[in-house]
Amino acid sequence: MLGDFRLYFRYIGISVRSQMQYRWSFIMMTIGHFLTTGIEFVGIWILFQRFGNIRGWSLAEVALCYGIVNIAFSISDATTRGFDMFHIMVKGGEFDRLLLRPRSTALQVAGQELTMRRIGRLTQGLIVLLWSAHTLGIVWSPAKVALTGAAALGGACLFCGLFVLQATLAFWTVETLEIVNTVTYGGVETAQFPLSIYRPWLRRFFTGVIPLATVSYFPALAILGRGAGSAVPPALQWGAPLAGFAFLLAALQVWKFGVRHYTSTGS
């Protein structure tokens, strides 16, 4: 296990170094990424200028969900580039090379790249989150800080799980399946807003099937202090980030199943 982390950081070190060889390109892309994802929040801001609030949620409260989800997504987006590009690897027969090595395949795929320019979205999400906390005057108890961190990490794991699932499909078909992108990117858009504004079926989908909203929305209730009057029990508000970790573990099991399928078909 410890050896696995060591190897992962070695891989990542190589990836980061090769990205830093083109330093200006990295800086410009990061700023670009910051601005393009930041435009989204400007859109939400304009929306609130027009309507004031959405189903009882103010802009600053929505910003908290938005911040958590964007931090979570940027982390997963940076760490799962290898899975995102995995279908190309399978098509080119490169995956065989990973199987020849005495290490887990998921670790080797994850180690392909750490996409540094995702810092753009990460910074943007963090700024929105801090602005929200400042505006709402949230008192940061250690528990709340921990919960916010857990929500971001749980969310990151959940998105990572989605990328892993998408990559797993490459074992059955070499065509990219945009349907998973619909869930992933659609999920990011959806989870930026509080779950309670959506229709019941969509709420159920993002709670039960892909527990995306749970990792941001339920903890947000506790952080915002809106939990007391809510129908969501406190245990769920504080425990929801675990769903993200569980989802990733489940996705990795599906991945293993995919690898077994690959080795038995060889295609």
Binding site: Y11, I14, D96, L99, L100, P102, T263, S264, T265, G266
Partner: protein, 327 residues
Amino acid sequence: MPQIVVDDLVKTFRVAERQPGLWGAARGLLKRRHRTVEALAGVSFGIETGELVGYIGPNGAGKSTTVKVLAGILVPDSGRCEVLGRVPWRERVANAREIGVVFGQRTQLWWDLPVIESFELLRDIYRVSPQAHLRSRDELVDMLDMEPLLDVPVRQLSLGQRMRCDLAAALLHSPPVLYLDEPTIGLDAVSKLAVRDFVRQLNRERGVTIILTTHDMDDIEALCTRIIVINEGHILSDGTLNDLRARVTTERWLIVDLAEEDGDVADPQATVISREGHRVCLRFDPDEVSAAELIGRITAGHAIRDLFVENPPIEEIIARLYGEQCR
């Protein structure tokens, strides 16, 4: 028990058939026809520790499929396979630590990294201790004469240089078993010789068991004590080079360099295969006529500059073996 056991391996692939044209592609979206290809149709052999075996056959014969099964990256439909007492696909990771694999067509190294950094990464991947790594690395660098290549990024290496680095990379963790898949493909003559010398040394001095697949018959002739020939998933022959020759043909070739150009050599007990300038090549059956008798008759009738007797080239033998099976 042999170090590598392969017993009645069967592997079939389902291949999607593409239909020609735009209309065919559109129809393929809805309904795809599949065809079953039998890559291995009951392959069996055993390889002892320290053997150097040539595994040859035409493209699509099942060579790579066998190597993939032995490497643990492909699960066969049926049959038994053990490498050092392990079933490769059940214990992929443990098996991977005991084998080295080189694919001539594709590098195992990291394209953008200097060679030495690829080696360090492999050290961590294979969990080799720093001392053992350095010892192994220095020895390989010395054997392959690759000191000047260590700081060069892999993408800047020539094919011959890259192959030397790939060989070293596959052996850094000191595996007792090595699979070489066309290690001399596309190499110039000097590089080929270097690779061959290295492989021979590895086998003779370190006792590494090697399975070599190749299309280069000179590799086979120079290196292998045993040759397994496979075609269409079946093993056609398994034995020494001489066994193979004896099985396919006993014929010998007599090559004669005449003093005069365009001289005509003919003998009732030999057939002329080729005639090029001064050189005439004849084929004869030693059971029918001895080399001495034939040479005696020819030298009596012609002014000869030089002559020698040799075995038919191995390409010829293999081609006949494949042909035999087709009939």
